[in-house]
């Protein structure tokens, strides 16, 4: 009896942890190893140890640095934007107002749509020459915009497209958080003479700190490795203005068959992402 007790948890864990190890952690280690080797196409060919050469090649490549800048710019905008908008949307759909449950259902719909259907649909709607959005802009007398075909607008357009799914998705979590705050706490603050903004700033936001941490970190993890929008919409262009690091890493591996520098780039991306996530844990950890 005691014997089975001792081994039961391990038996229960074995399949899950074995699969986790093989499919999540082993690739991490082989990826690390791969970034110190080179060859034409290592899927089949022979490997040659090159030390830090892959990294050196990356650091000497302006395309790499441009990609780093684009990735940082994209993330510096997309995560704060989605987090703030998600909180506001959650506050909005949490109001007791006639018809709100219908609005809530509708506004959270994009959560179910895949990123590539979203990208394709918005990509067509925003097309410079026949897109619906430009049709409407022109009808309003605002003039057509190039959107994804302009080096100045493409990244911003992409921020908008991914936020169409991202904002409602994170709203789900803020909504859950809001619904777990008891109304008595706000009521007590109101009786103590706090105005609405003070309640929001000093009660609602601090009580949602754990949700905020979760949202900020998860959003960072997702967006640092964003791949599909540049792949489907812009191929990294125009003028590499949407050449996010994950797309560049994929291109190096699968288009140029340069697995070494591709792995090195994926590794750097992961390290940078981890550093940002660590910083976010320090900044947003709950203080109560």
């Amino acid at each position: 009896m005691v014997r089975t007790e001792r081994f039961t948890p391990y038996l229960f864990l074995l399949p899950a942890l074995a699969l986790l190890l093989v499919w999540r952690y082993v690739p991490l280690v082989t990826g690390l190893r791969e970034s110190f080797y080179t060859n034409a196409l290592s899927f089949t060919g022979t490997k040659e140890y090159v030390g830090l050469d892959n990294f050196r090649r990356l650091f000497d490549d302006p395309v790499f640095w441009k990609s780093v800048r684009v990735t940082f710019l994209f993330n510096a905008i997309v995560t704060p934007l989605q987090t703030v908008l998600a909180l506001l949307l959650a506050l909005l759909v949490n109001q007791k107002l006639r018809g709100m449950s219908a609005f809530r259902t509708i506004l959270l719909l994009p959560v179910a749509i895949s990123i590539n259907v979203t990208a394709l649909a918005w990509g067509l709607a925003l097309d410079t020459n026949y897109g619906l959005v430009n049709g409407i802009l022109e009808a309003l007398g605002l003039g057509r915009q190039p959107f994804l075909r302009s080096a100045d607008q493409a990244l911003w357009t992409m921020v908008g497209i991914v936020s169409w799914i991202g904002v409602p998705f994170w709203t789900l979590f803020y909504l859950a958080g809001l619904q777990s705050i008891s109304p008595e706490i706000r009521e007590a603050a109101r009786i103590d003479g706090a105005n609405r903004f003070q309640i929001f700033r000093q009660i609602t936001v601090p009580l949602l700190q754990r949700v905020t941490l979760f949202v900020v970190v998860s959003d960072t993890v997702i967006n640092f490795t964003l791949f599909i929008p540049p792949y489907l919409l812009t191929r990294g262009g125009p003028q590499e203005s949407t050449n996010l690091m994950m797309y560049e890493a994929w291109q190096r591996g699968f288009t140029y068959s340069d697995l070494g520098s591709s792995s090195a780039m994926a590794l750097l991306l992961l390290v940078v992402m981890m550093a940002v996530v660590g910083l976010e844990f320090l900044l947003f950890r709950p203080r109560h």
């Binding site: 699969l19 499919w23 999540r24 179910a112 895949s114 979590f173 791949f227 792949y231 994950m246």
Partner: protein
Amino acid sequence: MAVRAEEPAQAGSGSRADPVGHRRGAASMTHAAGITGLYTILGFLTVLVLAPLWWIGANSFTTRETVWANVLPFSWRALLPQEFSLAGYRGIFEDGFGRAMSNTAALGFVTVVLTIAVCAPAGFAFARFAFRGKNVLWVLVLASLMVPYEATVIPAYTLIDRLGWLNSWQALIVPAIANGTAMFLFRQFFSEIPQDLLDAGRVDGASWMRILGGIVLPLSKPVLVTCSILVFLGQWNSFFWPMLVAPAEEYRVVQVAVSVLGVSQELRYWDRLFAASTLAAVVPLVLVLPLQRFYVGSIVGSGVKG
């Protein structure tokens, strides 16, 4: 906007929130303005969400020659099918889209079953047993959520290649089974099941596997539904991984089929692209719509609450 969004909370409590009687008239005017403002914002957001979905749907029922009619210069008729036609749907089904849909549905179903079979026991062990190494192993599970699979996609591809699994069902299923989020949700839910129920099972001499299958899981419908939706949607909406490891037509999944239409528009079969996108979007919408409340509810229970 933050301030405005808070308004009806106060307005809802009516006169109680307005102790200064002579200001009541002004307050109710701001109240009315606030409500109008809220409905304006809600209306704008509703259009922002529904317009692209409506547009895809409407364009899937028109002929490919008329898809772009009335867009530039813009007329409201652009939002309706110009010439009703099912050619888009006919075209994609002749081209194997039905197979992609049944492929993906079967793939989703099998992955759901295997994920529950593997992750529920793991969640149960973390929730209900004390054992050596528990914390380290739990950190391993949580850390896997921090490592997006995209970042390791190239070595994972190499691994699939070495196993000889390129273009196979197992390449699409096996790497998806160990799901950190599912383990997390199961652990949270199982830790709230009363100990008495488990003890009763132990007294009757049932094995832990029987307790899990016979007592715990039947009580766990909310978390089972949430995990099933999560995993099924994950497979239905997955694109990058199947595109890499199973590009053969035989294993084509919905999102890959849509994107193939999307990126190869030389033939200008717009109607087909819209028809495929509509079908790719409808299935998850139908799944999520009735279960949305459920979904939010189990996130509340999952410990990300404030």
